[in-house]
Subunit: 502 residues, 2 copies
Amino acid sequence: MGGNKGIYNNNTLEAEDRRSGGLLLSCKGWVMRVWEFARDEPNRVIFSLKVGLAILLVSLLILIRAPYEIFGTNIIWSIITVAIMFEYTVGSTFNKGFNRALGSLLAGVLAIVAAQLGLLASRVFEPIIIGISIFLVGTVTSFVKLWPSLAPYEYGFRVILFTYCLIIVSAYRMGNPIRTAMDRLYSIAIGGLVAVLVNVMVCPIWDGELLHEELVKGFDSVADSLEECVKKYVEDDGLDHPEFSKTVMDEFPDEPAYRRCRSTLNSSEKLDSLAQSAKWEPPHGRFKHLFYPWSEYAKVGNVLRYCAYEVMALHGVLHSEIQAPYNLRAMFRAEMQEAAGQAAELVRRLGMDIRDMNKTLKSSLLKRVHDTSERLQATIDMHSFLLVSSYEKPPAAPMPDGDTDTNPSPPGETYHEMMRKTSRRFYTWPSREVDAYEEEAAGVSAVGSLLVPRMKALESTSALSLVTFTSLLIEFVARLDHLVDAVEELSSMAKFKSEVEL
Amino acid sequence: MGGNKGIYNNNTLEAEDRRSGGLLLSCKGWVMRVWEFARDEPNRVIFSLKVGLAILLVSLLILIRAPYEIFGTNIIWSIITVAIMFEYTVGSTFNKGFNRALGSLLAGVLAIVAAQLGLLASRVFEPIIIGISIFLVGTVTSFVKLWPSLAPYEYGFRVILFTYCLIIVSAYRMGNPIRTAMDRLYSIAIGGLVAVLVNVMVCPIWDGELLHEELVKGFDSVADSLEECVKKYVEDDGLDHPEFSKTVMDEFPDEPAYRRCRSTLNSSEKLDSLAQSAKWEPPHGRFKHLFYPWSEYAKVGNVLRYCAYEVMALHGVLHSEIQAPYNLRAMFRAEMQEAAGQAAELVRRLGMDIRDMNKTLKSSLLKRVHDTSERLQATIDMHSFLLVSSYEKPPAAPMPDGDTDTNPSPPGETYHEMMRKTSRRFYTWPSREVDAYEEEAAGVSAVGSLLVPRMKALESTSALSLVTFTSLLIEFVARLDHLVDAVEELSSMAKFKSEVEL
């Protein structure tokens, strides 16, 4: 049998499994996709085998004669419990088990009380009392589970509801509510125990581990996306740009890191729920001490997301419809790339430190990042005359040529020539309003044209987009302070081991 | 009984309910909170009552003698089905019901086949074959449900697993698998039917309706947040600013619209899942035609989110640590507020059109928005000499005083005086690097100080933050084109009724 062999050879497991099941597999392509799906994340195969194992163990209690004679048919409740309770990770299985246990217990107690009350009443009123109690339990549990802070226990309230109904109804028809409740509870307990044991003993998949990896991945994707975005901004000449349209809006196929960064932006719920589940887990693996600060991970994730917003804004400028001319962008390439590179390096280092659970001082790296960002700022300032329109060209300013290696435009080319190159693109914005603009011009020119010729105004605005880009980049660097602080707090709370500064 | 009275008087229901249950209620404060919780969203109370009603109806099948004699104890499966299947909205109940039905059916067929196979084998091998089949079903269903496109049917795979185990195990111990399977299936069908009927007949809560409202709310919050942000930017003098720190980072208590805008940003999953569920719903209420384009709602939500990113970026500049001096910001107040006001007006109008399911032409409104944004752009250009450092102050430029009502700084105050006012704030950035900066200055000044005195460089960069803000605002306006297009597509696909342009 494929599945049985698969235990010893995970690599071909699911393909074999499918072949023997004949499910969904009509061609080789499917086999390949399934195979890749399993290889990407071997935990998936492990999880599936664990479910099979747990459900088999519980079924054995019925299939083998000896335990069946002890437990009887009630043991089928264990099967349901395993099927419903078994979750991907240890933390969420514990969480669901807790819900199930507490819910069943509460329902049992409630049902016994209600059933005894029913027995006190006359035979005629008993079903009425039971009916009313069922209605009440249904209404109250459904209302309470909508309460936001109780939302994680939604499953527990469902358990209360159906366990209560089952016990009280069976008790009514078969008598002896306490016996019925106890039978049900111990078979649920057996199911829960099997689910938890298999989940923890056999290759456990820890929420804490996943959370840790997820956070590290977030750092990497923010760093990659920042570099990618700045690289594209300074290198892209805007000619082979796909048209900005709804179809590509949320999917830039040539920017893999962007998509990852966007998923970091949307990861808050995922991190929160992982942190929530991780709290249920006992100390394990690298996370050895009790009360490990899992919620601190979610906080660092928050600060990281705050940096990611800035990357999204940079990305927005990169794809915005008003663009600084290419040569102008190229002129500041070295500074921009240096600042972005240093910032990305710092973010990546922070991520690596979390990954390796090291605690290193980042001050020298942080200082270097700030230095490069200040150099960028200074360069922009020095060349600010290029960015605004003015009648007199300022006297040829001496180019800085020390460590800030600017990339001056080819000598034969004037600023206006550069501008003309990108004018085709520029004039596409705002596409439907060009005529309106001309129309309007008559009115505005009365006040404006004396000072700024129309063409100049357009030029200058498009050049200012470069200022936007660099300000956002500098602001990103400013926010890194907070990121460093957050990571430091995590390091000390989680007792990462200190290392000497690199 | 509180719950019974509550049916006729929803307003006091849950308070009464709790009082009679004595659950969680120790003081008046709790009652008030619960009361407000219910009043905010009366659907919550309706939902709870519906669950109570459905579970009561199913229980009656056991509690009343006549149906009990027909159906027997198997009917308890109906109770479980109702408890597990009953969801807040019609669409998700249908979805879950479909999962339950198809899962049970598949499991029934599988179980019958496996059980017959087992019967063919000898008595010794039968449990072995059953055990292996259980393991296989457990492994395969668990693996398949991890497949991303099958994730919405996760519940269905759980149903297959436990129904299969239940049927095959009971069949093994009690014989006659087909009989067992049929008994189980029809009691599940009864439970499902009751759940669906109660959900649809009694005050149905439609996913489509929720999706519609959610999208409209998104438009409003983006518009509000834009106005709020621009208003704060031009009016805030930066003196009573709370310090930017981790604690306030994601929570700006004085900006209610910001939080709503942020939730719009995170709403993609919510919209997607609502759209997914809404597809299960039959035509209802205002959404009369078959195949109503629910997925188009999610697309409009995407474009709206793309605009919201821009608002977040504006908000980022508002709270960034490098700030343009207050008087400079105030100088462009009229234009900025006009552009933001017009843009917000357009967004709100789009939202209103969706709300009322009207289709109006937005071209004149869109033109007005573009006009104001161009006016802002022109004003910034005309005053761009204020934004950069240069040795000679340019000759006093004639202020535009036509329709663009700028707010010039008080006459007695020079630009440098303005600057000094905000220097306290400015120098807090980058807090830990001020010394490093001075240190560095020696190196940079060799190339830079000849051209730009240090103080000037700082001034100019901080002033450029204003440019960032306005560029982002103008970019927001540019993106409105796409928003208008998306809403127009939705209007025509959803056959909104046309109205004459306002």
